[in-house]
Amino acid sequence: MSDELFNREEFISYFRDEAEELLQQIDADLLRLEEGVNSGETDPEIINSLFRALHTVKGSSGMLGFVEVQGLAHKLENLCDLLRKDRMPLSESAVDILFTGRDLLTGLVQSAIGEEEAPHGVAEYIDKLDKYTSIYEETSHVIEGRTGQEHSFEEAAAHEEQASDADVAAFEAEVERLLAQAQAASAAAPIEPTPVPVFEEPVAAAPEGFIKELPPEPVETIKPELPKPVAAATPAPVAPKPAANGDQRRSSIHQTIRVDIERLDALLNLVGELVINRTRISDIANTLERLMNDKSGAAAGGAAQGIIAPLAKDLADSAALLARTTNEIQESIMKVRMVPIGQVFDRFPRLVRDVAKARGKEVQLVISGAETDLDKTIVDEVGEPLMHLLRNNVDHGIEAPDERERLGKARVGTISLNAYHEGNQIIIEVADDGGGINLEKVRARGLKQGLISSDDRLSDREIVDLIFTPGFSTAEVVSDVSGRGVGMDVVKRNITRLKGVFDVETVSGQGTRFTIKLPLTLAIIQALLVRVVDELYAIPLDSVIESQRVEMTDVRTVHGNEVITLRGQVVPLVRIAEFFELGGQRDPDKVMIVIVGLQGRQVGLVVDSFEGEQEIVIKPLSDVVGRIPGISGATILGNGSISLIIDVHSLVSDAHVSGKVARAEFSGV
């Protein structure tokens, strides 16, 4: 089809979303199918669902000219067709072949839309698949007395990707002829007029199946006139079971609409502007009100006040109204961006299955809270880290089945994946009932790699923290599944980038629990505004512990680093003015400090003054500016001025590194 008929880019983006959804569904279906094979009870609807999903992938990829995707989808569809017609036994090997096929199909889709390199081994796989299915197809050929030399439509369909216009024309001519025959037949022998038998499972690409199910009569009458046995397929009832399974499911149709995330972002940006303006109008109203109440400055005279007073009140009222509406808009737009985290969880049963199988472990994954909503951006980002955690749990957490038995545990290990809301956060827990992290081993490893020294007195928590250190070798203790070499430091960094907090608890012999706390959204946050020299900075409120005024006499200097002692804890100070090289003078008498903390580590940020709390809309810095150490973004304030947002995380870890010296020194004090 010519390109002017449609915007190809747009179609491809729809195709990608749709294919992703379908592949996910195929995965889920396959897992259920596998369970069925193991338990000996399968629901035929699973195979039908697989068949339909593959059929849709085939159709859509065909429209876009993704020949390879179409070809493979077709072959897999074919296999499912054999399965659902009981022409091929449902076995573990069939499911394994489908699993592999599904993965290659995913690879082909990604390469078709230009996201990945083409996957390896497609040709070999198709070869294998053909051999596998041909056994069963040939059986049926023999049954149906076919020689296999005839060029028939199912073969054309099997090679639909190469179908020429002539093939299509032939197919259509065939249908016309069948129709004519059917009409002639019904004219000759009036059959029951209305109910053409309802068929439950539509059949697509392998029409041989029909022959088997044909009532003998029409075959007899039509066959002689037709050159091809397939064509004998008539308006025959296919699986004439009681009808209309659709009717019973009528109740729950989910109405959804696909929206480009960029459009939502644009909308959110506008809402952001609205929020800013609301703040500004409130400011003006407040100022006016203050002026009105300021009787001392009544030089302007009572008359003017008489006019302005009601105006000020009007303004205040409408500002309040505006505030309410913007809040609601803001809330609903945030909700639009929310999607259930199940979208990510869905792919994990497969992952756990694969890793467990490869490692000879027996693991069950228990998922709860899949319906918990959070921001789409976060959902997209949190998949990777969770995947690594789960791999890690299977690989290193759960013991081998025999080992577990010896320890008196169930052979099958359990990993639970749980999500729930807590206030403005979502909590995701990944827990296993394996052996726990071996602290001695970690400590030994840390020593060997020079991350700690032998006279460091580390708490258990600090030892566990070592596994998050970049470069901490993963060889023995932590994850290095499939040689990817992805360490826990990457997992932690990813979570931190999402403004999340990552925690781990481990009990020797009983298991490990990773807890991830993430904000529900990244777009709008509460911030504390501070002034430094002439600049306003915003500090995310969730990391602010307290703010204080401290006399200089309470500030000590250790190895060139300023520190204070706060409730027995040593807190390093960072002078914002000096960190950002703003110039300005140090106050010789006192410092204003904002104590910020992340995961038990605290740092005092020295500022000039506190300017109050405000809701801010985070705007990322453009690429032109690049990454600035200590700054995570910017925001526009009510008065139109720009404020930079302080990256608490990087400041805390910075100070912590140099603060290590301080701690060693102070431990003797």
């Binding site: 859509s60 639909e160 299509v168 069948l178 129709l179 059917a182 539509p202 149709i253």
Partner: protein
């Protein structure tokens, strides 16, 4: 007045594609449905001049939908969208009351020709 069309297909790419072709040729796509159940409901609600109907869909397949639509409106004009190899089903659909069929992958001129024929 341009003719009002309801597009039924479970694949969003297909719906977009058909919609693109029809809209650019003066048809008014008044609705889309992604399975047979929706198709029957939307037909009742929208009373379109024409329906394009996929065959393989979840919840309710295209042929069942044709039957239910035709049962309510014997004059319904429904065109089946079919893949090669589905000849038996096409015949069944047409016996159930569909007026014609088009074969995937679609050729725009062919679609338009078929539609004109069905509408005239």
């Amino acid at each position: 007045m341009s003719k009002r069309v309801l597009i039924v297909d479970d694949a969003v790419v297909m719906r977009m594609m058909i919609k693109g072709i029809l809209s650019k040729n003066g048809f008014d796509v008044v609705g889309e449905a992604q399975n047979g159940v929706e198709a029957v409901e939307k037909y009742k609600q929208l009373q379109p001049d024409l329906v394009t109907m996929d065959m393989v869909m979840p919840e309710m397949d295209g042929i069942t939908a044709v039957k239910q639509i035709v049962a309510g409106d014997p004059n319904a004009k429904i065109i089946m969208c079919t893949s090669m190899g589905q000849q038996a089903l096409v015949v069944e659909a047409i016996q159930a009351g569909a007026k014609s069929f088009i074969t995937k992958p679609f050729q725009p001129p062919k679609i338009l020709e078929t539609i004109q024929k069905v509408l005239s």
